[in-house]
């Protein structure tokens, strides 16, 4: 019957959401029960944080630059190019810094987590770990999850800083405007709520990247082809869900911290 595939798909979706919820719950709760793998956490901080720094720096710098170029072109029509700094800093800190960093880290790390864990699944290394009495979620997933949340927070701050610097570079050297004016505009109009909005988002994005990367890796089936599929799913879903979660969070945060 034609209804069968729809029913099967619906069941699959519900089943996947349920599996993911239980998986994420176990990964989080593991932090509050020993044993804790601090060395693995530090190692993942290095892989995720230090390893992602170059791409975050480059993408952040040019994003800020593009923002300055575009905004200056539009603002000049109203004779308001002086507020370029304000525009760039607010956009970077509230939206583009957290979202772009999340997506860049998803591209790099969700794929790496899914393929690494997926390969371990298909070569029975995960089963071997379980057979040796070690919980793979505790050993492999929890350190990645918390390392990703922790490092994405700082990577976002870094992206915000270089983004504003990129905007300044364009403003001063390409648009030939005053740098002091740019920075004073960027600084003076920044409020506490902007910072909170910008720094809550990476915590959620980090959770999404690591939990989905590990989730798709750990449920890999079908050999090397399955590893490829898991990697694609991890990157696609984490990127899309980051943007969706950003939309929801913006809505909530704007309610909590209404613009003055």
């Amino acid at each position: 019957m034609a209804i069968d595939p729809i029913e099967r798909t619906a069941k699959n979706i519900v089943g996947t959401v349920q599996d993911y919820s239980l998986f994420a719950q176990r990964a989080v709760l593991n932090l509050f029960r020993p044993p804790r793998y601090w060395i693995d956490f530090m190692l993942q901080c290095n892989i995720i944080g230090v390893g992602s720094t170059p791409i975050v720096l480059i993408s952040g710098f040019f994003t800020g630059g593009v923002l300055a170029l575009q905004s200056a072109a539009t603002l000049s029509e109203f004779g308001a190019t002086a507020v370029t700094g304000r525009f760039v800093s607010l956009t970077m800190i509230r939206e583009l810094g957290p979202v772009l960093t999340g997506i860049m880290v998803a591209g790099r790390n969700a794929s790496s987590m899914a393929s690494e864990l997926g390969s371990m699944v298909v070569t029975e290394q995960i089963d071997a770990m379980r057979a040796l009495g070690v919980d793979p979620i505790r050993k492999l997933v929890t350190p990645r999850l918390f390392a990703c949340v922790f490092m994405l927070f700082f990577l976002t701050i870094l992206a915000d800083a270089v983004g504003i610097t990129g905007g300044a570079f364009v403003t001063v050297f390409m648009n030939h405007q005053n740098g002091t004016q740019y920075f004073s505009q960027a600084w003076e109009h920044l409020t506490y709520s902007d910072i909170v909005q910008g720094l809550v988002k990476p915590l959620v994005s980090g959770f999404i990247v690591a939990s989905l990367g590990c989730f798709y890796g750990m449920r890999t089936t079908g050999g090397t082809e399955g590893v490829g599929r898991s990697t694609i799913d991890a990157v696609v879903f984490s990127s899309v869900i980051i943007i969706f979660a950003d939309f929801l969070m913006t809505q909530v945060l704007l309610t909590l911290f209404p613009p003055i």
Binding site: D127, A128, R130, L132, G133, D135
Partner: protein, 294 residues
């Protein structure tokens, strides 16, 4: 030499040889009052027809069971049910006297540390050295480094691969990886060993080396074990040979005798169709078993 988990008892009376499964008869091995593993009417399916159906058998202390059957019949699934890597849809599985069929993963971990498992392709951790692979359990238990090194050397010496201590799995041959996997399974002095096709995909000479190690383990430590294979030659070698500790290698048991503690199970289409000794296996009337043997 690895410390013995329990002293080898050469004079231990062997379990009485079980007979082939008759129609209507429950195929239970005549194990002692508390078998190491006991399956009762176990079934499991994965989105389709049952992979295993109504499986009942047990493994007694000191017993080695060889699980035969063609590829894809559910042998590896059965092995993974024994230490709770998979959970059955119905039936009861007792491991070391504890019911594990419905046990949570958290509670299974301590039980699993009492078993050793050798996976089909070794399943060594690629990113860790041979030393760290073999010592994996000890590292998790935060055993001091000096003791870890000593015990890893002992385990690797047992499988005659002490020279690979610092190497990574990627630089080992298929046979060497299996031997390292055996060392990893043995280092924690398990109370039950599970071998999942340890000779699969290996050349005959390397297969014999692996079988010799399994015979050595059986005769030196007398750890109860179950070995999955579809290679009859390996199964018969295991049954007809013993490890001579003085000569340091495997020799045939004289006068055509067989090891009384080594018995057979056979699966066909998810059902256990044979449970008995080598003698019974060779003289069974079961058509499928006869075809398999031929």
């Amino acid at each position: 030499m690895i410390e013995l988990p329990h002293p080898a008892e050469p004079n231990l009376p062997p379990p009485a040889p079980p007979g082939p499964v008759q129609e209507g008869q429950v195929p239970i091995s005549p194990a002692g009052p508390s078998p190491v593993v006991a399956f009762r009417n176990v079934s499991i399916a994965f989105e389709g027809p049952p992979v295993l159906e109504d499986i009942t058998f047990s493994i007694a202390s000191g017993e080695t069971r060889i699980l035969l059957g063609p590829a894809g019949v559910g042998k590896s699934v059965l092995l993974k049910l024994i230490n709770g890597l998979l959970q059955p849809d119905q039936g009861s599985i007792q491991l070391f006297g504890e019911e594990i069929a419905t046990m949570t993963e958290e509670r299974l971990f301590p039980l699993r540390t009492r078993t050793g498992m050798v996976f089909q392709e070794g399943a060594l951790f690629d990113s860790l050295s041979v030393r760290d692979n073999v010592a994996y359990q000890l590292i998790q238990e935060r055993v001091p480094d000096e003791e870890i090194d000593r015990r890893v050397h002992e385990a690797l010496t047992f499988v005659e691969l002490d020279s690979t201590f610092d190497l990574f799995p990627g630089s080992l041959s298929g046979g060497m990886r299996r031997r390292v996997a055996i060392a990893r399974a043995l280092i924690h002095q398990p109370e039950l060993l599970l071998y999942d096709s340890p000779t699969g995909g290996l050349d005959p000479i390397t297969s014999t080396t692996i079988v010799e190690l399994i015979v050595k383990e059986r005769d030196v430590f007398r750890t109860p074990s179950i070995l999955v294979t579809h290679r009859l030659q390996d199964a018969f070698t295991l049954c007809t040979h013993r490890f001579d500790t003085e000569l340091g290698h495997m020799v045939p048991i004289p006068n055509g005798q067989t090891d009384p503690s080594t018995t057979f199970l056979m699966l066909e289409e998810g059902r256990l169709i044979f449970n008995g000794s080598l003698h019974d296996l060779l003289h069974t009337d079961n058509k499928f078993v006869r075809e398999f043997l031929e």
